[in-house]
Symmetry: D2
Subunit: 382 residues, 4 copies
């Protein structure tokens, strides 16, 4: 029955088979035909219209999903990566009336199990059953593109908890950036969230850092200071609202914050660089009682001046993902055009060129920041 005819405005043709990129051994991506998935209770089928490449995608494709429990997870073969996608609702699972076919949606990643201690307190991105979505042990956790099929494909199934409606005025490309902005907002939220008039330093002008600048400014932070090593990226920060940028190749980062704030330091640091010394620098950028959100990390343990943390009553918040419905709040700011997230979108490729898109992102070819894969009419078949 599916895939036959389109009888009404929102009566979508859904083919039984779809095209998707599937990961085999590390780095082995194949473009295959596979069955279009079917949404279950509390799920919908999304026709993917665009998807952005995240640095974590590159990591997953090379090394497997982040080993949340060290040593606990094998390399995840035979699944479709990609998690920063948006599209159109085309089928509803049982009991779903929160969405209708035809709704444009963007996604967040984590659907918690709903039954562990963390989910019960609303911390669904820290679900204790992360990755428990196989066979007998299926606890209901979903992290599309991490542990369940993601978006480098024509269709994906999403739990309704992971969907945010996209207004007509927002382009497909911009909508893929919502979850990045949502991660930055989550970082600001866990530090307290009431930041109007407070100083915020963002370390590292990657996509999350740049969105952190934009969201902090939207919330009224003052000054918002961005530090990094590349002038092109720092320039993007200025476009997104940074009051000051510091190229740490030219000036010591801590000294610069000291200079800009007249010796007072800031209240909040959002660390998005993963540089080995970033935590130590962050703790010297904040004043006593300051707060630091860690959204990135070095690959190896790095020396940390714990004494300074304790003596100065500093709080450090590690975050993973986009919890506390922060993506909805970020989407609201974007829908209200408080900032133009598209300044970080630099390149676009069609679905059959995913390997090229990944290569641009990985090697930062032509100063790529956000590379988007955009379905074309003949790609999506609709």
């Amino acid at each position: 029955m599916d895939g036959e005819t389109q009888t009404g405005t929102n009566d979508y043709i859904v083919p039984e088979m779809m095209r998707a990129w599937v990961l085999g051994d590390p780095e082995e991506l194949s473009f295959v035909e596979k069955p279009t998935p079917v949404p279950g209770a509390a799920e919908v089928l999304v026709r993917i219209d665009a998807i952005a490449v995240c640095a974590t995608d590159l990591e997953i494709i090379s090394n497997g999903p982040p080993a949340l429990i060290e040593g606990g997870q094998p390399f995840n073969k035979n699944f479709t990566p990609g998690h920063e996608y948006m599209g159109t609702v085309v089928r509803l699972g049982a009991g779903v009336d929160e969405f209708e076919p035809g709704d444009r949606v963007t996604v967040e990643i984590h659907a918690g199990c709903g039954r562990c201690e963390r989910c019960r307190e609303g911390m669904y991105t820290a679900c204790l059953n992360y990755g428990m979505n196989y066979g007998e042990k299926d606890k209901g956790h979903r992290a599309n593109g991490f542990t369940t099929d993601g978006g480098f494909a024509e269709y994906a199934v999403n739990n309704i908890n992971t969907l945010i409606k996209v207004p007509d005025e927002m382009s497909d490309e911009e909508a893929t950036l919502v979850v990045t902005a949502g991660t930055a907002m989550y970082g600001l939220d866990v530090m307290g969230g009431l930041i109007a008039g407070e100083g915020v330093v963002v370390i590292g002008p990657g996509p999350i850092g740049l969105m952190g600048v934009a969201v902090a400014k939207a919330l009224g932070a003052q000054p918002v200071i961005l530090t990094g090593t590349r002038d092109g990226r720092l320039q993007k920060g200025l476009e997104l609202g940074a009051d000051h940028v510091v190229n740490v190749r030219n000036e010591d980062a801590v000294a610069a914050i000291d200079r800009i704030t007249g010796g007072k330091g800031v209240q909040y640091v959002l660390e998005c660089s993963g540089a080995p010394n970033a935590v130590n620098e962050a703790m010297r950028m904040v004043n006593r009682g300051g707060r630091i959100c860690l959204a990135a990390f070095p690959s190896e343990p790095a020396p940390v001046d714990i004494a300074h943390v304790v003596r100065n009553n500093i709080y450090l918040f590690g975050i993973r993902g986009e919890g506390k419905s922060a993506t909805h709040r970020a989407a609201a700011f974007m829908a209200q055009r408080r900032f133009d997230a598209t300044v970080i979108h630099t390149h676009t490729f069609p679905l059959d060129e995913v390997p090229t898109a990944l290569k641009y992102a990985r090697e930062r070819i032509e100063d790529a920041i956000k590379v988007v894969v955009k379905m074309t009419p003949d790609t999506t078949g609709s």
Copy 2:
């Protein structure tokens, strides 16, 4: 007029001069006569009846007050150290009716400036004007025994914010331990405080760690697990309510928590050891989304597995002191006899033997935990 006669029950004789230990160059303590201080507005004069020795006292006497702003503070000569004291109110400053002469009181350390951003939000132990109590720059901050005169003396002046009433049933010696229990409670508070039925690990059976065991159990935590290297200290932990103790000379600490909790880990760790690897161990004791309070620190920067913090949404809270009125809550538990803090009190000396008391504490002679200096009638002169 002072010091002459006692005309009523609570009309105390206060001599014009008192005996006090004064710190000169590092390690140079002298027992001198100096003027009895006079309380100002919002202050009282406390006749000191007992004072416990804290490891930080030893640090201050050797190296000066903790360099809260690195390099910012010179060695603090010519002041009286000691901050864990209790006594009797004998004089009221202007405007004080919260206390009366004769009230038995114990103290907390920090009186914030009341005018900085941190004090305005109630984080007075992280006062931005810490140490600003000299001459023209007096912002009102007081940290008796750290930056202002403390309790190795016959009398001390205290801001009323630093006083807690002591019930008749509580001994002088026990009352000196309230601030230690208050620090432990603050540590549990900053992690959220609602811990009944939740697992808590305390690393390090020093005084704060042992009080952490007692307070966590009073709040209903289950299991409460104490780790350390000395069986005698661990035994004290059992007396104070620990459900399990782990001697890390015999068993890997992380493996032990894994064993005791059936692989689930705990929600909270209170790190009181300052061991270089304690933070890394703590982050493997907590489950995803877990919280760690750092109440101690190694002297040098230590390698920290920041990636594990970020991937597991872990929060780290550095604390200094006994904020958020936690001392009042700890005192309430002690007044209700929820635990017997005196099990950590091991030795007592008179005021003129402060150097011996310090030596016992420093060298842990006879397994000393808390060494108390107790005024005797002829010592206090009352």
Copy 3:
């Protein structure tokens, strides 16, 4: 196949049909045979061993479930009421390994939908899909005994989110009281939860109020004051830890609090009486900035002195049920024997005498407080 033989220790005989009380028209309860329910994913089948009668049961049997959305819900025919039950896990639904057959469990009421804004932030007792558990519109919400089948029966199906393990040492009767204590604890939690040494007034010595006294004292509140009209109930409050009780037939409640606290008032009031003037009295018992939890309510709108609320920065928290996993915390206190909840258990009847049990509870025959229905071996058939 079910119900044939018991082949192992925890291999329970589950009959295909069970006995259950079913509500027809208002007040019409029938004791019938009906099919034993089958647990689905994330559910277990509980053999009910005991169930307490709650005042809300009486309300549901007479008038239907509380009209959470006014006018929205018809009288709920043909279901089994009763929500304060405990029992033994006898069957596991798909994917459940959190429990095993043979586990003794007690229940909380609410299993949120997991997909609305409130559930996503952890406020599952305020689920926006409350009552949406019928056919096409099944959103997954369950409130056993309110909108789905409850516990006046031999068996019930429970979402694992609603289960708490019961230690061997706790009797069946005591275990039925956990959810009542959990509701009281939730009330204290929403007001902030850090109440050691703070004054708490509980208005109304019904079951929730009496458990409120016990939990407040377990958390270290001081003084805990209970007000009511019947000396027998107030006496129970003293047994559960109240420092003071006030019979408001003899003394004005506000004046009494003023007297007991030396004019200072308390920080927190837990209002459990539903008396029309209770809110006005509560706001005069708390000091400025005080907090009031409303766990009961009068049947009609009552005059409230809103000006006093605003001028004094008072917060009022309406609560329904036992959110934030408070039941787990209450169960932990009970397992640790911090208080003896059984002092409120006054009467016991077998399953076939549910109408008598309800009559005792409704008419408070022989000063009934908590009436428990206890299955007997021949009743449960095991």
Copy 4:
């Protein structure tokens, strides 16, 4: 020395005597000469440049300061009312280096005592020593224009906690509106503060309500809905960012919210009308688990549907004033020109016409909203 010569840029002439309006019996305002006050420790002298009239000023002049403790405070004779002022720092008290002469500042009202339980936790607007600023009992509380001399004068003394710097670009008139915006922001803060993308209803388009619209929108709330009875005021709401306005003379307020939100209701209501039925309407505008801030109140107790509050897990937050440094956050938004507060400024008068200014405000002559008294050069004498 004072008042003689101006020797440098910021060396202000301060006369020994100043002109000020002084309240005698109710409604009796006199324009007198009185000594210019002298700032103490942690205080500065502010030359008043502009002051707005607040409805509470009218109340104070007619009836005395709000009886925070009913019956506790006599009519406050012989003081200078007025609390929404701004000006220029001209003298520093002891220990002040946070400000310099010449700084333009606006004020908030409350300087807490710093020694009560509320101040210690950062709730300084709910200071337990409110009004304790007389003679022997001076606890340090200051509420200029309420219990201590305010701003209908040439000069006033302010605790530095009550000062916010004003950027050069902001006019004197606009700066007087900061504390009004700060009160609105405090209301949003106490409800949680993270409101981007959430629905907010503001009831009552008075100055606080209109600023509530502006601040809610600045924080990203969506939709922001303003209800009221006068189209002119509602029009101002639209100018300040309201997405919808409802004239409740034309449409039932609750029905309108239902219509606008598609039956979902909103998460937050900021009640600024004081209408007797406003609380009942607010609780039907929010969805289950919603939050209501009460910033206004009817003069008499009004019937409240407490059952609806309890059944729907609604929280009600009474606020007085501008706590939690919300004024600083509001000022930051205004400095960043997120909204144009001056749309509520309608009239201006000189200092000697204060009675006319009050009359315009009281009688809403010419649709007056905010009436500002502006010092002229010859008025201020500088």
